[in-house]
């Protein structure tokens, strides 16, 4: 019995790891001429622009996320309660959606610059929108909530006693923030910024709108342009190394710093009441960020949607929208189901005996989330093409059996999003202690009763939450879908991206709005989970 479980666990981990291992193994057979060619053409630009973008977005989200988190943690002002969770809402807006709305608004032909020219003449100066700066601004607005959420949680854990002690030795409130609260929150801040940076590495659509050439964008360029799988693979290997390096950097930055606060029931930091214009400025700051990152773009999307339904700018056949919606629901639903089941299986298998290698296997299997979508995409494609060739021979390579199929796409989603579902599944399974099962058995419950009476009710909510997160992630997903979707299987995200890439802003608003609406669900889930965590003892 034990062998079956062990084999199953190793098999699952191997299947999930295989695409990434394939990309990593490519290191051993790097092609020198290919590299020289890359180095002489695009690679230096790609590396430079990737670095600049990563640094800008990392710094931007760090400043914005930490600042806002400190504002709502350390001060009290009217509207703080609502604003402190509304500030998470921009997570619901995919970067490529905010990107194209921003572009449509601020680009040369957009309303802002047109108005400026009407007032100040054709020479009116405006910063170049299609630039690293523009892309960094958009990405910062979309992803600062990662840092904000983690920083807020870190500040909430800090006890007022520690801060009081700092004040007692003569630090001002600002000094206490800089010298105490920030260093204490460092592990959380590092984790947040790492998430942001990994997202930045994955994104290719937004940066493409803004004419920025990053590694991910480069992979797509060579992929789409000349179907050059080799070069794409080389770049994917490089990107994988960068992501791995970042994860190692995060570990070392976090270091041994696992600060714990003395005592179980800590006294929370007492927020200071702000008055009159200070309160107005604090609220205004939060509202400004909210308006830029969510309010205004959402309003714009609604306006476009209304206009497009009244008078279409793009002739689309009736029912096309429904087909996109159907494909999206089916794909996201299927991926959520598959991923959740595998996650549950891993969570159960991983704790059967609790050996070290089992934990390592599970850990490796769930590392795909840190890998940029383009890496996962290239890895899965290459793996499936190899399997196809092995199974069906070369003559079939024109009609790839696995590569262009739903199987391939679902497989890639599994690799990419397993970690999301696993987090929830593991936490749920953890709730059912061995003692509980033993108590049930001693009370006369057989296997069936234990499964339905003890496991299912305790695990259900967590699994559902995990499935919803995966569902929304798949719905928003772009790089993997773009690379692996079978012919005709376009999702809402692909539809949005394609229309926006052709500057059909108004038409793109309809699928974009749908994505944002569905995307609000996990954000609410996230906020509720956070609140529950704070209420529970």
């Amino acid at each position: 019995m034990g062998y079956v479980y062990r084999l199953l666990l190793i098999g699952l981990a191997a299947v999930i790891m295989a695409p990434l291992l394939l990309v990593a193994a490519n290191l051993l057979r790097l092609d020198a001429t290919n590299w020289r060619h890359l180095w002489e053409t695009r690679l230096p630009t790609m590396l430079l622009q990737t670095t600049l973008l990563v640094v800008a977005v990392g710094a931007g989200t760090l400043a914005l996320g930490t600042g806002l988190a400190w504002l709502v943690s350390a001060y009290r002002f009217p509207g703080r309660g609502i604003v402190s969770w509304l500030l998470v809402l921009p997570l619901a807006m995919p970067s490529y959606v905010l990107g194209f709305v921003f572009m449509a608004t601020f680009d040369y032909a957009g309303p802002v610059q047109t108005t400026l020219r009407a007032w100040f003449g054709p020479g009116a100066w405006f910063p170049e929108v299609r630039s690293i700066g523009g892309a960094a601004l958009v990405l910062t607005l979309v992803w600062y909530p990662y840092v904000y959420l983690l920083a807020r949680a870190a500040f909430a854990e800090q006890s007022s006693v520690t801060l009081d002690a700092a004040r007692a030795v003569g630090l001002s409130r600002a000094g206490a923030f800089a010298r105490l609260a920030l260093p204490l929150a460092r592990p959380s801040l590092v984790a947040g910024v790492t998430l942001v940076v990994l997202e930045t590495l994955t994104d290719f659509a937004t940066v493409r709108y803004f004419n920025v050439m990053t590694l991910s964008e480069g992979i797509f360029r060579v992929w789409e342009g000349m179907m050059d799988r080799d070069t794409a693979m080389q770049l994917a290997t490089l990107l994988l190394l960068v992501a791995l390096g970042l994860m190692l950097l995060e570990r070392s930055l976090r270091g041994q710093a696992r600060y714990t606060q003395a005592g179980g029931a800590v006294q929370r930091m007492q927020p200071v009441l702000l008055r009159s214009w200070c309160a107005a400025a604090a609220l205004g700051m939060c509202l400004l960020v909210l308006a830029l990152a969510f309010g205004l773009p959402a309003t714009q999307l609604i306006a476009w949607t209304v206009a497009e339904t009244r008078q279409p700018t793009l002739p689309t056949a009736d029912g096309v929208a429904w087909r996109y919606i159907g494909v999206t629901l089916a794909l996201a639903g299927g991926a959520a189901l598959l991923t959740t089941l595998v996650a549950l299986l891993l969570a159960v298998l991983g704790r059967l005996e609790g050996r070290r290698w089992q934990r390592v296997a599970v850990r490796l299997a769930t590392s795909g989330y840190a890998m940029p979508g383009a890496v996962v995409g290239v890895g899965v494609l290459t793996l499936l093409a190899t399997v196809d060739r092995a199974l069906f021979g070369d003559e079939f390579s024109a009609a790839l059996v696995l590569t262009g199929s739903l199987t391939g796409l679902l497989y890639a989603y599994l690799v990419r999003f397993l970690a999301v579902a696993y987090g929830s599944a593991d936490a749920s399974v953890e709730k059912v202690t061995p003692r509980m099962v033993e108590a049930a058995r001693c009370l006369g419950a057989g296997r069936g009763r234990i499964l339905w009476g003890v496991y299912t009710p305790l695990v259900r909510a967590g699994l559902l939450a995990g499935a919803i997160l995966v569902f929304v992630d798949v719905m928003k997903e772009l790089p993997v879908t773009l690379m692996l979707r079978p012919f005709g299987m376009d999702t809402l995200a692909i539809w949005t991206y394609m229309l926006a890439a052709e500057s059909y802003w108004q038409a793109a608003a309809i699928p974009a709005l749908l994505i944002v609406l569905v995307g609000v669900a996990p954000v609410v889930l996230l906020v509720r989970a956070g609140d529950r965590g704070r209420v529970a003892p």
């Binding site: 709730k431 033993e438 108590a439 058995r441 001693c442 009370l443 419950a445």
Partner: protein, 346 residues
Amino acid sequence: MTLAISLNNVWKTYPGGPRAVAGVTLEVAAGSVLALLGPSGCGKTTLLRLIAGLERPDQGVIQVGERTVASEGVWVAPEQRRVGLVFQEGALFPHLTVAENIGFALNGRPRGAREQRLAALLALVGLEGLGSRYPHQLSGGQQQRVALARALAPEPAVVLLDEPFASLDPALRGELREEVMQILRAAATTTVLVTHDQEEALSLADQIALMLDGRVVQHASPFVIYDRPATRAVADFIGAANWLPGHAEDGCARCALGIVALAAPVQGPVDVLVRPEQLCMAPDPAGAWRVQEIRFFGHDTLVTLVGDTGLLLRARRLGQAHVSAGTSVQLQVCGAVSAFPREQEP
């Protein structure tokens, strides 16, 4: 005497782990309370889990009532053993209310009977009116009472308690264990209580089985365990002990305290066990013992005495000792003492 539990030469070794239970033979009379006492890691919890059916013995026969539940070729699953089990942490089902937790094992019964039994159990453990609460809304003591009610619900032949009071704070512990024992005696079930707390075992149990290194080294009443320990190890584990080298002959032993009466005859070189409360002291300028240190605990006092050979003894008195450090005293032994043949020096 009807037996509720009997174990015959039971062995259990965990794969890759130490030998947990090594040849235990034990009988528990129906309706009695047995304390399985021993230091942590002595195998007492494993023994409990063997009785409950949560572990399979490598060898040996286990009977619950008349029925053989484990032996070579026989295996009865825990859900069919009618054995109630209460864990240290309660292990209540967090998604069920107090009433649903207690009613978990009453599923098959008709509604009326079920409600009646539930009400009776809630009253028994003093939790009337709390049936609709969830476990996390209860205190630790209340949770343990729910766990007990849940275990008692299907009217098990035997109730096993695995250190049920260990995770409670001391103030609550004493009160709750009195109460739990009353409930269990009222329900007239056979109880096995696993504990490492000798006070708990001595005060609550009819019989104590003392376990060391996977074996039951002595199985007797609390009085016998305390006054007539079977081995030096038992004497050391239970209560405080003064050891005096001596020589035994004809029911008496000669040692640093003079000639003392032995409870059981031994011959030859021995170590005499004198409990601190058996030492009576009287101030005497010519006495051979000097008071070195006095520790006052309120209800009693512990006095450390030093003899002219440098031998240290501890004496315990109720209330104050009425001596001061440096005083010379006479010592007398009250009652018979135990002696163990001297272990040969290697």
